[in-house]
Amino acid sequence: MTTTAEPTTPGEIGRARVRKEDTRLITGRTRFTDSITPSGTLHISVVRSTFAHARINRIDTSAAKSAPGVIGVYTAADLGVESVGLPNAWPITPEQKTPQRPLLAATTVHFAGEGVAVVVARSAGEARDAAELVDVDYEPLEPVLDMEAALADGATLVHPDLGTNESATWVFDSGEAGTGGSVSDAISAAESDPDSVVVRRRFIQQRLIPAFMEPRSVVVDPTGEQITFYSSTQVPHILRTMTAVTLGVPESKLRVIAPDVGGGFGGKIGVVPEEMLCVALAQKLGKPIKWTETRSESLLTAHHGRDQIQDIAIAAKKDGTVTGLDVKLLADMGAYLGLVGGGVPILGAFMFNAIYKIPAYRFACTNVFTTKTLTDAYRGAGRPEATFAIERIMDELAVELGRDPMDLRQQNWIKHEEFPFNTVAGLTYDSGNYEQATQQAMELFDYAGLRREQEERRRSGDPVQLGIGISTFTEMCGLAPSRVLGSLAYGAGGWEAASIRMLATGKVEVITGASPHGQGHETAFSQIVADQLGVPFEDVEILHGDTQISPKGLDTYGSRSLAVGGIAIVDAAQKVIAKARKLAAHMLEADEKDLEFSGGTFTVRGTDKGKAIQEIAFAAFVAHDLPEGMEPSLDADAVYDPENFSFPHGTHLAAIEVDTETGHVDLRKYVCVDDVGTVINPLIVEGQVHGGLAQGIAQALFEEANYDEQGTLVNATFVDYTLPSPADLPSFDTHVVSTPATSNPLGVKGVGEAGTIASTPAIVNGVIDALRHLGVTDVEMPCTSQRVWRAIQEAKGRSTQETPTDTHSPGAGLGSIDPNNPQGEVQ
């Protein structure tokens, strides 16, 4: 069941339109990158290291070179690309250590799956066959798998030339920034005050894999004047610029096309070695070059996400008032820094304080190199980690203080009337109504009734125990304000571009720089333009994803498409209307000031004289009779750079049943009430929330990327990387309330990541709430049946065999319990 805010005005905005792009996407009619094969295309297969860390003694390509259909076999040296490094666009500190990330490893491999050679052949099968014949002599080196061990003295170094496995440490201190007090003062004060408490916990964000549906694919055709570069990417514009920077190809000689892209979740925002290899090979051989990865290659080598160790301390008075929050993170970068990998945990720095009024806050994050697949953005990017930690520790604090966890939140959150609110992390929340979303969620959920049932089950010793999980989250959407990104040393701005072309026949072409990869931009943007210009929805065409058509843009990630790209479209539409107004006045022989524009028609106030925008567009096209000095065009461009982020929020409640006999966790009911600002299309919002919830719940219950002691990823197929299916999830009750954002003319906030950010702590809080009375204080994610069962056994004081920990996930074997304080006692 889903309810959404009803549109207050008739029009396209707020209509639950079925996505116009779905017909071609779900009937197999569209062409993804792998469907594109220019004549004469050669195919590549990358020979990949089976070792996590090894010196390359010798690469023997002779057998592969003589295999059928093979055009060539190349190492980095053969291609002359040994000195080329893939870009890192976000040096988080001036001192950040940034190792060269090569297209192919030349002397040392740093993670299992890293390319060492590439085979070019007439068919993909022949390339694959020949790749098997490349004989690489490796000298194994010690893998580096554990972040804390990697930082210890004498640790094996992933990149010995850097002298350390620490990439950078980034610190924010509200005392120093002047946005709040000193947290060390707050904690020491609390520790010496009998009327205060300090709760410390260690939480583990396991490593996750974005697992987009369409594996990555690249086609580079060098036969035209420009190099045409197709890629299954989220970021065609960034890819174009970065390719120019990386390989020295003039940007004007590159045309990048992201055709329909089958998902990304952040996993396709990188600039990856295979893309650059295809360009280099296409230039070298003068033929189109194509690469399409296998699913196992994707799981092994496309960047991963999360993977943090979080040490959290919260100080509060015994009356519940939070007085300070201290956050120390270790973030696993893997073997290299991705395009924005180092910055991902830093995005979380602004969100640990969440919806609460916390007077003192400190955040410190150390990025660490290991010999694993690199990490970078994954749906939520920094914010899910922050939300998890704060929402988990609020529950722990509530238990410590003997308070209902919702009461405690309510006591500390920003009240509706306190907006706009300057946070301790230095942001200004423009709007929000936590009371409204929470009240509605608790009613729909029957919070009181479920608490009674929980009490009853505890009393009767029911083998199936009930837990209630809460997450009252906020997030920052619309990765933009260029000045903010600049202050964080991010390597680009955050604006977005749009153009509108009024065609002679009255149809409208809209060009956006926010290239979608499955979100439904074409539908939502069409609705916006239809409303703005008063033209039929069907008359609007959204063009994107090709740098020849859409030369300017910063692409899709960070829930920015609507909150930034959508506003650019509104701005362009306003410019079109301004031009049309001038021409309309001329045609109607009226003064511009006397014209009203409504429903696509300019009318002279107080008369029935009017001109439709289609008529005006035709008049501009023929240009027979234009006002003095007017260009014969209504077309307009706009680039929008917002002043602030937008801040969606919501209250998510989960009823969790835990079978204490088996440890099985069953999500019985999930209610969420999200405030995402103005809703353009409730169907799309619902779809985004559903998918987001599934992904966040998957972190809590199902997914984990594990490495064995040699540094081999042991989840290299979907058999072992356990994605949930609909059969594992309940029917969600998703609801929307709307407090329009004040930071943009549409009042929109963004919804792409909300479900993922909010749901993970709700689930884990629920699992623990079901078991708390048995003495369970934590279960590490994912909360598999075995982990839950062992937590119960351990709480019962029985000795059971340790959960096998042949993995080097963060904190493997330690659980999320502070090793210095295994019982999670308050200190």
């Binding site: 089976t50 490349v134 040699q710 990823l713 290299a716």
Partner: protein, 248 residues
């Protein structure tokens, strides 16, 4: 992954020590293997692992890195690479012997094994169970090979440090047939470790069956192939992937 296996051989320790140090004796007890060359302390060969639908062929080399006669300890290192680029396998096998009375020898084999690449990219699971089973089969094969020899006075007469025989028989293509327990003068009495043949085997030793029959526990020489010691354990890994691979 570390696997430990203990077994007892009905032979005096010197006899058992000699056998353990003789590739021609030991190797045929490892499943799926073909010994190609053998010189000094080093050998090369292939191990074919065939189980259910999976088949992998590891080609590699092995070396006796330690032979401590005094303490009856031998360490063998073996590495191999799958012929279709699926990854590598390596193992360090440490065998130690202690006399268990005058006619029996207790053997401990510790196998430390590393698998990289695709076979390792699937969950883990049954590996250690299967490993135990395989090494168990290897053990009983070795033990059974030794018994008849121990009973043969002529064989016993050969001192552990005897000069290399260079016996062509040991390297004959027909090799020790599986279950050649009574094949007295052939491979079973091959040269002693301490002085392995200086000449490479003239041709590969292979048996007539390619596939390993994992299950033939009937005691018969299940293990039809000569292999770097890694052989048995390699196959353990494979098991898992058969299952795991179902829905790639």
């Amino acid at each position: 992954m570390q696997l430990e296996n203990k077994f007892t051989i009905d032979a005096p320790i010197e006899k058992a020590w000699e056998a353990l140090n003789t590739p021609e004796t030991v190797a045929p007890c490892f499943p799926g293997a073909t010994l190609q060359e053998y010189e000094g302390d080093s050998f090369t060969g292939t191990v074919k692992v065939k189980l259910g639908p999976i088949s992998l062929t590891y080609k590699g080399k092995g070396t006796y890195v330690t032979r401590d006669e005094e303490n009856h300890k031998v360490v063998i290192e073996a590495t191999g690479r799958d012929s279709r680029g699926n990854g590598t396998a390596s193992a360090t096998v440490t065998g130690t012997m202690v006399a268990d009375g005058p006619t029996r020898t207790a053997v401990t084999m510790v196998t430390d094994m590393t698998i990289t690449g695709r076979p390792a990219q699937f969950g883990r699971g049954v590996i250690s169970d299967v490993a135990d089973k395989i090494i168990g089969q290897f053990s009983s094969c070795v033990a059974s090979k030794l018994v008849p020899e121990a009973e043969k006075p002529a064989e016993e007469a050969k001192p552990a440090a005897s000069a290399p025989s260079g016996s062509e028989g040991a390297a004959a293509p027909t090799g020790p047939s599986a279950g050649s327990q009574t094949n007295g003068t052939g491979a079973a009495t091959g040269p002693v470790l301490a002085s392995a043949p200086k000449t490479p085997a003239t041709s590969a030793m292979r048996s007539e069956v390619d596939a390993i029959d994992l299950l033939d526990t009937a005691g018969a020489p299940v293990l039809k192939r000569l292999a770097p010691v890694a052989g048995g354990a390699l196959l353990l890994l494979i098991i898992f992937l058969i299952r795991r691979a179902r829905r790639s």
